[in-house]
């Protein structure tokens, strides 16, 4: 460290040597990061830093979420997915597990969902809610992504006056955009506010009225590749999360699951006892949102 300090001061002495200083500084930082590790000195360096900041080096591993043992979760979920797709549709039961201890509230899943499904303003399938508990200094935050719960007993489907929304045999609740009349009764019936109304806004409306290029891209929802245009469906329709069935059915994980940088979202077949999601929901720290409503959600939260 004294060496680095000296060289920094030297480099700053002249304007001309700025480039040389940056080169030296970068090298020193890199060396500082790599060299101790190479020399097996990582732990002492960390301990010294902790000592300086007043923290102890005692690390309580039980405070961390348990690691998923075995192979990489993505690899395992992909294998679960392929296995499920080999079964008849009615034998699959898609479900999602969200580990709230791992969710960082980055909204990556929400953005991935919007990007995947080309969602317009006013429509969201997976907002991430923030909850703050306690008061300073005993305060904590947790982030709760809220996709559609794909309820086993969905209250939104029986109220539809025209049979435009239903639960598929694999448990996913879908909307037929060509049948939906846009009465929005199903939105009021959902206890999770998981349905959206596509009023017809475009991001371009707020950018001088010109449609943005990405708004002219077709949405892969339900494998229909619809381009959103004035007055045509899905404008005027109710829209919702469908676990990216267009991706599932070609053997891909939902966009939210794949994009989760904290690896907090898991997806798979709940009917498969060997799937990762089945394993995860077999723990005692599982909860579902608003269970008292009797909707039997298929989105589980680990707390």
């Amino acid at each position: 460290m004294p060496q680095l300090k000296e060289s920094v001061l030297d480099a700053l002495k002249t304007e001309e040597s700025r480039r040389a200083f940056l080169a030296k500084f970068a090298s020193a930082v890199f060396a500082g990061l790599v060299a101790p590790a190479v020399a097996g000195e990582v732990a002492p360096v960390q301990a010294a830093a902790a000592e300086q900041s007043g923290l102890t080096d005692e690390f309580d591993a039980t405070q961390l979420p348990e690691a998923v043992e075995g192979e990489h979760p993505i690899k395992r979920m992909m294998a679960d997915l392929r296995r499920a797709l080999q079964k008849p549709m009615e034998q699959r039961r898609w479900g999602m597990v969200i580990d709230l201890r791992k969710c960082t509230g980055c909204n990556g899943c929400n953005v991935a969902c919007i990007t995947e499904n080309k969602l317009p303003p006013g429509v969201t399938y997976r907002p991430v809610m923030t909850e703050t508990h306690g008061t300073y200094p005993n305060v904590a935050r947790r982030f709760i992504p809220r996709p559609c719960m794909q309820c086993d007993n969905p209250p939104c489907t029986p109220v539809c006056p025209v049979n435009a929304t239903w639960k598929r045999s694999d448990g996913i609740v879908v909307v037929d955009y060509d049948k939906c009349i846009g009465c929005r009764y199903c939105i009021t019936a959902c206890p999770y506010a998981a349905r959206s109304f596509d009023s017809g806004y475009f991001y371009g409306d707020f950018e001088g009225g010109e449609r943005q290029p990405y708004e002219l891209l077709p949405s892969p929802e339900y494998g229909e590749n619809r381009v959103r245009a004035e007055e045509g469906s899905p404008i005027g329709n109710v829209r919702k999360c469908h676990f990216c069935i267009h991706r599932i059915e070609r053997g891909e994980l939902p966009a939210c699951t794949l994009s989760c940088m904290g690896r907090a979202t898991y997806f798979g077949d709940l009917n498969d006892s060997k799937s990762l999601v089945s394993e995860l929901i077999g723990q005692p720290n599982v909860m579902r949102l608003r269970e008292e409503m009797g909707t039997e959600p298929k989105v589980f939260y680990l707390v």
Binding site: G182, S199, G236
Partner: protein, 375 residues
């Protein structure tokens, strides 16, 4: 100037001004309205519920006159029938324009979901509409005919069913704590009957078609229904607040003490209960007082519907949703836009035009009815 002429002028002015709202709705779609993903229903749904209620009450008067042969109500029964038809048309127009895809309304007939109250309602409305038109035509020929009596009596269970079912449409939604109650269908029925009877009272006095006996009947009916509505509303609000179910209490607190408290206290309680009750009770010999009471009861019926529809929806299912992902179309705040108000003005004017045109058509053929003795 005759009151009926004033009504015509007001109606035509409203119709023309309201056309701006129609134009905005047609051009701008649903982006001109304030309802959205989180508050999916607004002013137009409240107006629909109110106008259907008016129709229920107006029909009640006609059914008493033609079905139960209450002779005192016979002079006002034609007005009641036309009012029932006009308000039904207005209510259906409000909900039709509220649809995301009004062009697909035919699916309600061809793809009815029998488990949906809304799906079943469309059949009730159709039957009811046909019944009203049939009764209007038949009563013009011979209002004492047996078929008029039978049809009127047949229509009574129909209006009770759909008047209650309209409340059940809200009452069965367990996700909305403010709506979900066994009392909701009954409250809709009673409030609807009250507002419709009051509308007939107002119109019959204004159109100079009321007799003393008819007014006595209508006043009695209105007072009785008002008392019943007060009891039901008190039961609903007091038990809910005492029970303290958070979501329901939050909605009721908004109704009673929220930013739009004046809708409840001024329009609903003040102009919709206290003033009409005082007028009906203490100024019952003055025609202007009775007409005012009737008009106020009918007009302020929208306050209770607004206070049912909106406060339930503006309370988030999860508090975290308020800030989770916000922006246009993703807000729990709702206040109708100018376009929504203008369209409502147009719908009410259209409804009034249907009524006035009907009364004008009827007046050409009808016999003179005895007039109310003015106090």
């Amino acid at each position: 100037m005759k009151p009926v002429r004033v009504l015509w002028i007001l109606t035509l002015v409203g119709f023309v001004i309201g056309l701006v709202g129609v134009f905005q709705r047609v051009i701008g779609g649903h982006t001109v309205a304030a309802y959205n993903t989180y508050v999916p229903w607004g002013l137009w749904v409240a107006a629909y519920a109110m106008m259907i209620g008016l129709s229920v009450g107006a029909y009640l008067v006609a059914a008493l006159a033609y079905g139960f042969r209450v002779q005192a109500l016979k002079p006002v029964a034609p007005i009641a029938l036309f009012a029932a038809l006009a308000t039904l048309a207005g209510g259906l127009m409000a909900i039709w324009l509220d649809l995301g895809h009004p062009d697909r309304f035919w699916r309600l007939f061809l793809a009815t979901n029998p488990t949906s109250i809304m799906g079943l309602m469309v059949w009730f409305y159709t039957l009811y509409g046909i019944l009203l038109i049939a009764l209007i035509v038949l009563t013009q020929r011979n209002s004492d005919a047996g078929i008029v009596r039978n049809l009127s009596l047949l229509g009574l269970p129909l209006v009770i069913i759909f008047g209650g079912a309209e409340g059940a449409l809200f009452g069965v939604v367990s996700a909305q704590a403010l709506w979900e109650s066994g009392l909701t269908p009954i409250l809709f029925l009673v409030e609807g009957a009250l507002s419709g009877v009051a509308l007939v009272l107002f119109l019959s006095v204004v159109l100079d078609k009321a007799t003393e006996d008819a007014v006595r009947w209508l006043r009695g009916l209105a007072l009785g229904l008002l008392a019943a509505a007060i009891v039901l509303e008190w039961a609903e609000i007091s038990t809910a607040l005492y029970a303290g179910i958070p979501a329901k209490t939050a909605s009721l607190n908004l109704v009673l003490f929220g930013p739009f408290w004046w809708v409840f206290w001024f329009f609903h309680v003040g102009l919709g209960i206290v003033v009409p009750a005082l007028l009906l009770l203490f100024l019952n010999r003055r025609t202007w007082a009775l007409a005012t009471a009737g008009g106020l009861l009918a007009l302020t019926a929208i306050a209770s519907k607004l206070n049912l529809v909106i406060p339930a929806l503006v309370v988030p299912e999860f508090e975290g949703l308020r800030t989770a992902f916000t922006g246009t179309g993703l807000t729990f705040n709702y206040f109708p836009t100018l376009a929504e108000w203008l369209l409502l003005v147009w719908i009410v004017s259209l409804s009034a035009l249907v009524f006035l045109a009907g009364v004008w058509w009827m007046g050409r053929a009808s016999v003179q009815t005895p007039r109310l003795t003015k106090a």
